[in-house]
């Protein structure tokens, strides 16, 4: 199977990214809400200003209309033509709110507000003391001049956007300040591991090479058992060394992708870990079908080693490890202590361990995840406390070999 690589890696841990994104989202929402509120206040103040200007004009119209009504009242019924103007429309209502006469465009009048907007019109209410023609309420209506609205909205949009951009830049600056101590401590740990790793290489290689050369057939069973323990310990250190080397150095190394026979690779790695598994009386049950993927051999070996190593480390004595290989997926299942469901999502974080009683730096699954992400593979974890953990890798992307 050919897998496409995703080189989009970042210096930030995913938990840092999550925190950063949460902070930014919260900050963005907060800033937007504050700006929205300011925008609303600004809009309301502009609207008030417009109403204030209109009130003066409409009040003059209303006074003019009252005079005309007074004249009509005294001449009624000899003159019955309701006074009209080209500048405004008007309506008269009696004390009980019943219409006497109306020229308004919008009939949904309000008796509780002096000036208000209805559709595209502004209506002004004047209450009369002398009820000419029975008029208690006089309404004056004019078409609204929308120029203030356009100007206000464009001001809100322009200043709002500009302020938002400035505040987001400030937010990013603050985030970088807040994250600096956290990043420094991680870099310090990385540097320490990197420096230590260099010093581990030669002694581990020497121990492993000498163990391989020793002839166990001439040893007493007790010595052979001791040698086996030394072998296990050396391999554990070797495994840790390889993880640390990968973590500190291999990120910058150019990948050498090739077709990897997964069945053969799993067989090799199981054999490599057989002694370690044997020390806890753990047995492997393999169900392997032919499968090949196009990937860097070192990287897929790191994935397998870490999955098997964890399955041994967190398994019970006399436990089992089931490894299933199909053309499109690989599954490693153990009969171990399991992981709490709320912790499952954090297991791929660097320096996170399932159980503090076990040794290690908590970097194995972080390496697995980084390789899985680099090749766009899918990984899923299912775990039940005291039953075991199942990790499955799907080779869903790319094309099948042949």
């Amino acid at each position: 199977m050919l897998v496409s690589k995703n080189k989009g890696t970042s210096l930030l841990r995913s938990s840092e990214k999550r925190s950063l994104l949460r902070f930014l989202a919260l900050y963005f929402i907060l800033v937007t809400m504050i700006l929205l509120l300011l925008g609303i206040f600004y809009y309301q103040s502009q609207e008030k200003l417009m109403f204030s200007n209109q009130r003066t004009i409409l009040s003059n119209y209303a006074n003019r209309q009252v005079k005309a009504l007074k004249q009509l009242h005294s001449n009624f019924p000899h003159r019955t033509i309701y006074p009209r103007s080209i500048k405004y429309r008007s309506a008269i209502y009696d004390i009980e709110g019943n219409e006497i006469f109306s020229l308004l465009k919008h009939d949904n009048i309000r008796f509780d507000k002096e000036i208000y907007r209805v559709g595209n019109s502004i209506q002004f209410l004047k209450t009369l003391d002398d009820y000419y023609l029975g008029t208690k309420y006089l309404f004056i209506e004019v078409d609204e001049d929308k120029s203030w609205y356009k100007e206000t909205m464009s001001n809100i949009l322009a200043f709002g956007t500009l302020t938002l951009i400035v505040l987001i830049i400030f937010g990013l600056f603050f985030v970088s300040i807040f994250l600096r101590p956290m990043r420094n401590s991680i870099m310090l740990l990385d540097d320490f591991i990197k420096d230590t790793t260099h010093e581990l290489n030669t002694p581990i290689s020497a121990i492993l090479a000498n163990i391989e050369m020793m002839d166990t057939s001439v040893m007493s069973p007790r010595n052979a058992k001791r040698l086996s323990r030394i072998n296990i310990a050396a391999k554990t250190v070797s495994h840790l060394y390889q993880d640390l080397t990968y973590l500190t150095l291999s990120h910058n190394r150019e990948s050498k992708d090739e077709w990897i026979d997964m069945k053969q690779l799993i067989g090799d790695r199981v054999e490599y870990f057989a002694i370690l598994a044997g020390s806890k009386k753990i047995t492997f049950e393999l169900d392997l079908k032919e499968s090949a993927i196009f990937i860097d051999g070192v990287k897929i070996a790191r994935v397998l080693d870490n999955l098997i190593s964890n399955a041994i480390k967190y398994n019970k004595r006399n436990g089992k490890i089931f490894i299933t290989l199909r053309k499109s997926y690989l599954q490693v299942q153990d009969t171990g202590i399991g992981i709490k469901s709320k912790k499952v999502q954090d297991i791929f974080e660097r320096y996170t361990r399932f159980n503090s009683s076990e040794g290690g730096f908590g970097i194995g699954l972080n390496i697995v995840k980084s390789i899985i992400d680099e090749y766009n593979l899918q990984i899923s974890v299912e775990s039940v406390i005291d039953v075991g953990t199942t990790i499955r890798i799907d080779f869903t992307k790319g094309t099948l070999d042949g």
């Binding site: 019924p77 019955t80 009980e96 006497i100 009820y131 000419y132």
Partner: protein, 114 residues
């Protein structure tokens, strides 16, 4: 002779019909106000200017007609000095309502404004 009887009969029927056509307002209001210096129409406009709405106007008018006082009268002092306040109505509530409704219908400005 027969012709005379028929003519007399026709006259009586016409007179009786004319009596029936006149409503409470026409029978009880117009006869007195015909000789008053302020017409009923002018009085209506004064009431309208003071009370504005139909219910308010009718209510105030009814209360005044049932118990007319100088303080409740809308007429000016000169008018009252010359003509005094009118007497209490002798009409029943129902008749009074009917007369006031007719008065309102007759001079309601809503129907006349153009």
């Amino acid at each position: 002779m027969v012709k005379k009887v028929v003519l007399l009969g026709a006259f009586c029927i016409t007179m009786l019909g004319a009596e029936e056509v006149q409503n409470v307002y026409e029978r009880n209001c117009i006869p007195c106000h015909r000789y008053a210096p302020a017409s009923l129409e002018k009085l209506f406009m004064v009431y309208l200017k003071t009370y504005s709405g139909e219910l308010s106007l009718k209510g105030a008018l009814k209360a005044f007609l049932k118990n007319p006082t100088e303080s409740d009268s809308l007429m000016n002092n000169t008018f009252i000095e010359n003509f005094s306040v009118k007497d209490k109505t002798t009409l029943t509530d129902k008749e009074l309502d009917e007369a006031i409704d007719t008065y309102w219908e007759l001079y309601d400005v809503r129907k006349k404004l153009k």
